[in-house]
Amino acid sequence: MRTSQLLALAWRESRTARRRLLLYMSSISLGVAALVAIDSFASNTQRSVREQARALLGGDIALTARQPFPKPLAVGLDSLKREGVARADVTTFSSMALSQRTGLTRLSQIRAVTPGYPFYGQILTSPADQWARLQSGRFALVDPSLLIALNGQVGDTLTLGFARFIVIGTLRSVPGDVGVASAIGPRIYIPARYVDETSLLMFGSRSDHEALFKLPPTLPAQRFLFRFKQRMDSAGVRARTVAETEFNLTQAIDQLRDFLSVIGIVALLLGGIGVASGVNAFVMRKIDTVAILRCLGATSGQVLAIYLIQATVMGLLGAAFGAVLGLGLQLLLPRVLADFLPVDVHVSLEWSAVITGMLVGVWVALMFALRPLVALRNVSPLQTLRRESDADALRGARFDPVRVLVAVAIVLSIAALGITRANDLTQGLGFAAGIGAAVGLLYAAAAGLSASARRVVQPNWPFVLRQGVASLYRPGNQTRSVVLALGFGVFLMSTVYQVQRNLLRTVDVKLVASRANVVFFDVQGDQGPGVDSLIRASGAQVIQRTPLVPMKISSINGVPAAKLTTDTTHGRRHAEGWAMRREFRSTYRDSLVPSERLTAGTFHRGGTRAPALPEVSVDKGIAQDLKLSIGDTIVWDVQSVLVPTRVASFREVNWTRFEPNFFVVFEPRALEKAPKQFVVLADVRGDAAVARLQRDVVSRFPNVSSLDLTLIQQTVGRVLNKVTAAIRFMAGLSLALGIPVLFSSVSATRRERLREGVLLKVLGATRRQVGRIMLAEYLLLGGLGGVVGVVLGTGGAWALMHFIFKQPYVPAFGPALLVALLMMAIAVSIGMLTGRDVFRETPMAALREA
């Protein structure tokens, strides 16, 4: 047979089945759509990052530090001016912003900038062009969310510390800033020359310092780094170049793509299962035609070729449809993820993503279609004379090497998909194994449930229910694929919802446990009594007043910190460089608090006496970084006063609690006389009282910041919502993916069901009874899918809470069950829709069709 004749015959033969076959093959459409969308989105975003990398950084190189640059470095950097290097500075710190007009306050992130900032990229404001005005007076540009919180407007006066600023506009877009950041702390840009007027950067205050440089062609970034490396290292100053920024961001996007790809690939595989179910149904309808063709002299290869051609063409169409859909989704993704993206993504057509997505889609569809298609080789021409049941007609030898080959090809394809999506072989294989495990787990759960259905059914159950349950394990049942399709969507959705609920609950529990709902910090030593009395005067309670002393490590066991960070002979370098240089904000007390647990040594309860060294208790984690042992001596530099101590114990600290927690807790006698700040926790009833107290405190002590913990809870909720919205979008997509798979799976048994329904009708069953049997079957299928999904989702949520968030898990079934119910409704609707012929046809007409 010539190829043209084969193609023509395949085309003609497909006449009445094209739409159906297209429907089955389009199970992969959404998988292709997901892959095309994810890949296009990643390519677009990475291109945008490359284009905007300079704007993201704001300069050619940025130096950052937790404190002002030390003199040797500062002098060196100043000398650059002579070489034509332009410099701009940003100092970032937290402070209360008080609206003079409304009297409301809000903890904000202040960014004090010098003229010229940023060198690249544009800060867009509303009204337009206000950025250029910022440096011309006591002006501020703020996040819109701040105005909402303060019930303020452009033109209002903001008090920051002891200085006042006029809000001249709001920020519309700041290069490199992710939208979600403003939910955590609204930004306020002010001119740097007024920082001193605010008096906010005083003893113990935390601030970040960034210097941006615009380099001339004569001084490339690498040469700059080489020149200042030593001075930067010893001062704990970090440098970022444009290339680094670009590299880090593209790597992050790669990771995001990998994560989203998991869902895309699983969607594709689910689609593959849908294809297999649908093509299985298709194959059953083709038994008669194949028998005739065989009778007329067609070889098994020719028969297989005819249907493979049909499947390929329809697979291509399904994949093309998916690609178009993917291009549409690609427009949506930047919007869904907008709050997490540091760049404005310019969407454009990515041909490589489209072609790859389509090729992968067609390949997966064909591999999965081949599984049922190869069974057509077993159809005997004898079927033209004596028709056997569908299952018998397709049954081949027990060991069919071709079927084994197809199964191996499917497994290899999944592995290849995993490997091409990951960065290396091991990761790829792990990726494929993970996907296989997820699908396998669902499949095993479905198979187990289907098998147990056979055992639970009781003879005394109503006929309708018995029939419904029986259909779950009838020969050629689609229980597994339906449960897989439904279960996976429900699984993802319920995991996401449960984790979200648990994280919110964690915050809630913490607030209740600590009783306090307002925290005042940066309270200077002499301001303590004043803040206390303001709190008491407002009728609120002071729950805790914790002293806080800033310090640095001077030496450990007699070796100076500077030497420890540069000298490798002491075995302390690398891991603890940052820990050695960092500023510690320590406290002193003689008892443990509920968020701490002793892991080694003895805590200095009751204290020690001179001449013994005062004792300290160190957090277990940082003790490891510093390679400390019990009994080690640490000398601390507290405002240039050296305080020697002995490490007496290690503690495990629960950092997630809303309480002041510390790396190092001193014995009181060591620090009582040191200059200190306080953190004050208060229990204030009512929103209005909280707002009033915050305003009163900031009015009297402008440097004192306060935080309404309920607001934190709401913020955490909002941020979580944004994060989960992106995941929910993908989970929703995978739910949508389940629908064509469901259609295919249900259609696969349509003929069987039609025969059964018609037989029942012939035997005297009413349409109502037949309908109820079908309803029972689909309710069971939907229910089973939902239950499997919720159970696995619970496992997934537990695992995430336990291993990733390290928090206790409390089941939250509400929303998960809602999703399961929704899927059940979809399953019933699709089932009833597909099986409507049973109701519509008379027994005679339906018998003829069956």
């Binding site: 015959l9 009778c295 005997s380 004379l385």
Partner: protein
């Protein structure tokens, strides 16, 4: 020449071995018109399946033009059918998705013949269906469908034509015309025809009748049709 030698066909039914054909032997010379008759369950259809190479016997052999069919693979038998054998079935067995013309073309195309459409059109013309060439099976009457099936059966100029109850689904007038058509084609092209039927009147039109009962040949006799044809010849 078609020869059946000691054909036995057994099926497993539960724990039992069920013999459908027992030691069936005969020879059908080229150009013959033979009827195989017998009551329901006598093994007629099973025998036809074995003779046409659609199935293989449990023991015994079927020799077609000197070739032992049971030694050929399924695909080789398919090729042999495509080259030498035609079929007419009780339920017509047209491919529902193809038009009358396309149905007739199939055996030719499977062989890779270039002139398939022209030959198919000629055959449809011969069975009087030139004007129905582009109709689908469900748009044709039973008689028309069977004529398409006959045209298809003769499309590859088979040496051997198997007809399984070809008039079973037709009214007597149409059935009569179909048999006449078969007879004419047999006469004109010298094709051997093996007709399986339980209709004795129809069987009487063959030259020879092989009677089956309980899977065995109970009689193998020449009919008057043979005498008449010999006289005419």
């Amino acid at each position: 020449m078609l020869e059946a030698r000691h054909l036995v066909k057994e099926y497993r039914s539960g724990d039992h071995q069920l013999a459908v054909l027992r030691d069936v032997s005969f020879v059908i010379p080229d150009g013959a018109f033979v009827a195989i008759v017998g009551p329901s369950g006598s093994g007629k259809t099973t025998l036809l399946g074995l003779l046409a190479g659609l199935d293989v016997p449990s023991t015994g052999t079927v020799i077609l033009d000197g070739e032992d069919l049971s030694r050929l693979s399924e695909d080789k038998r398919a090729r042999l059918r495509g080259a030498k054998v035609g079929f007419v079935f009780q339920s017509f067995q047209l491919i529902p998705t193809l038009t009358a013309l396309e149905n007739v073309q199939v055996p030719l195309e499977l062989r890779g013949d270039d002139g398939a459409p022209a030959r198919a059109r000629e055959l449809l013309d011969r069975v009087g269906l030139a004007d129905r060439a582009h109709h689908f099976p469900n748009q044709l009457s039973g008689g028309e469908q069977q004529r398409v099936a006959i045209a298809r059966a003769f499309s590859n100029a088979p040496r051997l034509l198997f007809a399984d109850e070809p008039t079973g689904n037709l009214d007597s007038d149409t059935g009569h015309r179909i048999v006449e058509l078969l007879e004419n084609l047999n006469r004109e092209s010298g094709t051997t025809i093996v007709l399986v039927t339980h209709d004795l009147t129809l069987a009487q039109r063959a030259q020879r009748i092989i009677r089956l009962a309980d899977g065995a040949v109970v009689s193998d006799t020449a009919t008057r049709a043979r005498d008449l044809k010999s006289a005419a010849g």
